[in-house]
């Protein structure tokens, strides 16, 4: 049995859940294990119905009014009970701010292995080997799991293609009675949009983004100049925003904006997965970085492996000249 714990919001599945379904369906084929989607919520009927249409074996619904909102203590209590009872081979969760909030606690509560941020897996004999990225996606690690199942894993967003999820199942929906005994140590006070400023990049046709490779705040002018010459907008990777070179609203990536312009320039951006998920669906991606091993080249269509301080001014000059013609 493979468990996947669905993430949902406003009665709809989040995209990570489709990615978990793809992960589960693939492991299911290779290890001949049925798939069960687990949904926790106060009234998750619509979400369960959506899951039922996927090619899986079972949807288990854990319904309780206290589960109206995600809570780590309650998720650990409910999931621990289900996992100890059914002893699944593998439990898949999202490598998200929700999944990674409770998965480590769950692993300790169960005293079972957790491999976080998986991007791939393989079958070696009968053993499951999970692959994850380390050193900011510069290297991959293949991890072998100790002891008997269950094993826990979180899937890195963007690693399993959501559009490859197979539909057409006849999953059985099972309502799981839930008893909650623990008093949660944490409660949500409010949920707000973080400061959303002028830089709405979601519909920008051309974006020029800069990263830590620019070295200093004043060098970001190179990015602004190229964007201006191109008639494009400016974006940034997380380290740039953290260093306060630009306000948070410019950040592109999992905790910032998701963009898919016609043309995306990544300048001095190494390409951490958190950045890639926010821009990898751009139609044409150009990466300028002097490190040929930088993960940004994995998603780029054109690359220039050179000193950005030489290439970017040359590009800006060409576009300026073109404008004047």
């Amino acid at each position: 049995m493979i468990f996947l714990v669905a993430e949902h919001k406003d009665n709809k599945l989040k995209s990570i859940t489709s990615e978990l379904l793809v992960f589960a369906q693939r492991v299911s084929r290779d290890f001949a294990q049925p798939v069960t989607a687990v949904v926790l919520g106060a009234s998750p009927g619509a979400v369960a119905d959506e899951l039922e249409t996927r090619k899986i074996d079972r949807v288990v619904v854990a319904q309780h009014e206290q589960l109206a909102e995600y809570n780590p203590d309650l998720y650990v209590e409910v999931l621990k009970g289900m996992i100890e009872k059914e002893k699944p081979f593998l439990v898949l969760m999202g490598h998200t701010t929700e999944g990674m909030d409770y998965a480590p606690r769950l692993a300790v509560a169960l005293r079972k292995p957790l491999i976080a941020g998986c991007v791939d897996y393989e079958k070696q004999g009968n053993r499951l080997i999970l692959t994850r990225q380390i050193f900011n996606a510069k290297m991959n690690m293949k991890a072998g799991l100790h002891g008997a199942a269950p094993y826990l894993a979180t899937a890195s967003p963007g690693a399993f293609p959501a559009d490859e999820v197979e539909s057409g199942g006849s999953a059985e929906i099972v309502n799981q009675p839930v008893t909650i005994t623990s008093a949660p140590r944490r409660k949500v006070v409010e949920r707000v949009e973080a400061q959303k400023g002028k830089a709405d990049l979601s519909s920008a046709p051309i974006i020029v983004s800069g990263g830590r490779g620019l070295k200093e705040k004043q060098n970001f002018n190179l990015v602004f100049e190229l964007a201006e010459a191109l008639g494009g907008s400016v974006g940034a990777s997380r380290p740039v925003v953290d260093a306060e070179w630009l306000p948070r609203e410019y950040q592109i990536g999992s905790s910032g904006q998701t963009v898919s312009p016609r043309l995306y320039f990544a300048i001095g951006i190494s390409g951490a997965i958190q950045h890639l998920v926010g821009m990898q669906s751009s139609r044409c991606i150009v990466a300028i970085n002097k490190d040929p091993e930088a993960p940004i080249f994995k998603v780029a269509h054109y690359g220039i492996v050179e000193d950005l301080f030489k290439v970017v001014p040359a590009l800006t000059k060409i576009f300026k000249d073109l404008k004047q013609v």
Binding site: D101, K138, N140, S255, R283, I304
Partner: protein, 265 residues
């Protein structure tokens, strides 16, 4: 308020990383180690909370000389004392074994009101250890924290968490609690010369596995939940077209290709 700040020593981000011969880790003998970047944000937040509420900041780290080094830096930044988990048996610990040992050490030190750790490390980057410590100790926790506000009585706190898609969530936690601190929550201070001098007189406890009551099967590789089978450079699946030439030539070729091949200009 007693605040414990966890620091992981990682290779200096500027270092060139080479996979070792057995392909199980990098060649780390000759590398310089520094505090993992997110842990600096955590320590800065701990120091600011201390300045607002008074109390003590204790830095804790596991490892050899590299751990002692990041602890000394933490003391120089302003932490009051340090705990160094030092034992050859700790080598090979995964997140689970590390969190178990740190939880034991924190218990031995009398617990804490608040434990802070970076949201994820620069090497493994799993973001698990802090949250695992919370479960071992039975403390409340919150991850990916971008703002902290503690109640004056140290019984509860409010933490702002960063969610996906530009959302923030404020949660209220009972204390003691563990928070994993997101990059960019503050601007970490640099150690002053005075701080560096003062650090030399500050207390650094050194505890072995035996001091923590941990048996050899609970630490290092034996206590780990998984083993590293292989470290590798990922294959490039994409068909990126690398444009060569001088910067001027490459720029000119790129512009032509964007116009005629990709047709995006």
């Amino acid at each position: 308020m007693k605040i414990i700040s966890c620091i992981k020593p990682v290779p200096d981000p500027a270092s060139r990383l080479i996979i070792n011969d057995s392909k199980t880790w990098i060649k780390d003998q000759d590398l310089t180690f520094v505090a993992s970047e997110a842990d600096n944000y955590a320590l800065e937040e701990a120091l600011r909370l201390k300045e607002r509420h008074s109390g003590d900041v204790v830095v804790i780290s596991m490892g050899g000389e590299e751990a002692a080094r990041v602890l000394r830096s933490g003391l120089a930044m302003g932490a009051d004392r340090a705990i160094h988990l030092l034992d050859p048996g700790f080598k090979g610990s995964d997140e689970f074994a590390t969190a178990a040992a740190m939880a034991k050490a924190i218990e031995k030190d009398g617990g804490a009101d608040l434990i802070l750790a970076g949201v994820q490390s620069d090497d493994l980057g799993t973001g698990m250890t802090g949250t695992m410590i919370a479960e071992f100790l039975g403390y409340a926790h919150a991850t990916v924290v971008v703002g902290v506000e503690a109640a004056p009585d140290s019984k509860s706190l409010k933490a702002r968490r960063e969610l996906e898609g530009g959302l923030n969530e404020t949660v209220e936690l009972s204390m003691p609690a563990v928070l994993t601190i997101q990059f960019g929550i503050n601007q970490p201070r640099y150690a002053s010369l005075k701080g560096i001098m003062a650090a030399k007189k500050k207390e650094m406890k050194t505890w072995s596995a035996a001091d923590l009551g941990l048996t050899p099967d609970a630490i290092g590789k034996a206590g780990a939940m998984y083993e590293v089978k292989e470290i590798l450079i990922p294959e490039r699946k994409s068909k990126v077209e690398i444009i060569s030439g001088t910067p001027e030539e490459a720029a000119a070729v790129l512009v032509e290709k964007l116009k005629k091949e990709a047709k995006v200009l």
